[in-house]
Symmetry: C2
Subunit: 434 residues, 2 copies
Amino acid sequence: MSRSLPSRSELGREILARAAALARHSDSATNYTRTYLTPAHQAAARDIARWMREAGMEVRVDAVGSVIGRYAANDAGARTLLMGSHFDSVRNGGRYDGVLGILVPIACVAELNARGERLPCAIEVAAFADEEGARFQTSFLASRAMLGRLDPAVLERRDAQGVALRDAMIVAGLDPARIAEAAIDTSRLGAYVEVHIEQGPVLLDEGHALGVVTSIAGGTRHTLTVRGESGHAGTVPMPRRHDALAAAAEMVLAIEKRCAAGGSLVGTVGMLEVKDGTGNVIPGEVRFSADIRAGDDATREAAEADAFAACESIAKRRGVTLERTRTHHVHAVPCAPWLQDALARAIEAIDAPRPRNEVRRLPSGAGHDAMILAEATEVGMLFVRCGAGGVSHNPAETVDAEDAGAAAQALLTLLALLAKKGSGSFLARAEKGT
Amino acid sequence: MSRSLPSRSELGREILARAAALARHSDSATNYTRTYLTPAHQAAARDIARWMREAGMEVRVDAVGSVIGRYAANDAGARTLLMGSHFDSVRNGGRYDGVLGILVPIACVAELNARGERLPCAIEVAAFADEEGARFQTSFLASRAMLGRLDPAVLERRDAQGVALRDAMIVAGLDPARIAEAAIDTSRLGAYVEVHIEQGPVLLDEGHALGVVTSIAGGTRHTLTVRGESGHAGTVPMPRRHDALAAAAEMVLAIEKRCAAGGSLVGTVGMLEVKDGTGNVIPGEVRFSADIRAGDDATREAAEADAFAACESIAKRRGVTLERTRTHHVHAVPCAPWLQDALARAIEAIDAPRPRNEVRRLPSGAGHDAMILAEATEVGMLFVRCGAGGVSHNPAETVDAEDAGAAAQALLTLLALLAKKGSGSFLARAEKGT
């Protein structure tokens, strides 16, 4: 890997052209939607497999439909660096979400292959078949299956048309009885690296093409129900009211305020419903959600405790009752420090936009396959700047070709660092026998 | 009218027994719902007509189905004191709302008739066929028709089953072509007095059986739409957000705060909807209602100006847009001072619960037929304490028999005052030729 890096524009243009080609495989005639096991999804899998083969990889399709390309090491007994992301999408989504984390590694392996270079570790690129789970309301199905942690109960889930996941697999040529065979031998994994668009505005706002993910935020979701006293909007004097909506409004602001304390902490009330809400009736019952996330669990837990204590005291003061149910909980997943450092060195080594010569490190507020892989190996993530104000899960999602090219350059640089067995990597530790 | 008043308990028990009898005429087998021109509504009209006849009144049914009883004056040329309220209900309503204002005057006329007394004015009791308008989404249909101010376009309205109001009239034996004939000669009206349950908790909280209405609140209703920027609940840092729900929550509290300034002013956000609201998406658009009322228009207008200016500045500070549409507007209707005073003297004259020997005067936050009659004559309203925490438009609505009896005693006392042609009444002024 002594040769100079291929041109960023050239790499970027090819990656974006492939993303555009994949985007043509859509379940919908009018927007970009590619859900698990549909004809469009299978067509995308075929394109990905072809590009992997063209990059010199051996390709297999696993038991749940993920496409996995392998580029052997220079040493048959070496461990594997896994890279990848997902090729399903949300409904009416953006064409880079997931796909970028498949196309960038393929471009890197193609470059190694063109040079005839092998690394001291095998490289595998996983195109995960289902992460968003828009069709069967699953989540991380394919990466869970890869770790042998897929609950077979999901086979009974049905899509909006009533088709069971089990039957969709059969139609797609997969055997639902064999999903356990998707499990890999995780003891062979050295690390997992995922390239992903940021899906937020931080890199864009600050002028960074790339960013190093410090951790994938943990989060909880809660449903809160406020019960006050409904009444006639004209006849109940203000001091006599126990307005469930006014109470909920104060709680929304209390959650917002506490979660604006800084850092990676965010808090969102995305859903709020007034029961039997109508213009001339004082609301008697309001239900709302609270989604609280942070890059580390302690920060999130402290914010939750404060925010919900504030909600309780608002309820008490206003003479309403408050019920809260936690509906979702995931712990934060830290990215391996050595991988963060190696990715930062890779970014420093290439000439991508980087204000004040700094490397931006930031948490990921969204969940990624890396959260699942972290159960089996060390993970790292490289964020690519998201255009159009940072929107994602939206047709307006964009990535600049130069930024996609920069991501490929950075990933090639990371591979070169690994080849040197430096940076405290699993290879360095293997050398030392740790 | 020199004889002592009939017993409060006796009067009250009969009024409540009749309210219970009317409540059996319901559109629903499971709750109290009586809407315009249904079989239950017509059965109620027949009961009311019978009670009016038994009280010595001549009864007519007008062109829209209102039942009007007349008890002639001792002077053929005398003007008319009109009393009344409505006998339709909201869906799943309370049995005293409206009905009390029909049954109390009938009980009073029955007492005059038993004594063989006539007054220097005719008495008419109007049982208005439609005020709530729950079936055809009308409002004050019957009292508007009485003033010749009913828009014939309402005939085309359809109920939830698709039945046109016009056809419902024909089925009920009314001629939709003749609704104009419901109009009375308003020059013969001396005044209008409406007895009504308070529909709020003020008299109950303060221990008054009866209250004198100072004015019927005017009000406006508005729809406000906040547009911010939707986004991923995990990836958009707090300072970068333009959360439409957080902005709306702040506006809800600003409206509540300004409308809590005291007096008759009230403000309610009864409806609030988050467009496409879901737990993990920052709300991009929120629509909510604001209902603001006060006993006088100047108070309400000042509150509206301040509250909406506060909303505008919240929108500006948060970088969201705010659109506001006024969907409803009625002016406040003051009750005639001489009628307020006469009702207060009547309350003073009877021995009903009245803390600190005061007569409670209060605005009506709800609309009543008196608002419409005020376009043609002077109006007064007597409020009766509402039990069960002041709830109305609800099956829990209650009135104490003693309080209903007190209302009848007070109304009889008012009639005695009028018979003396005192109190600055229309009769006193007719004497003086004013």
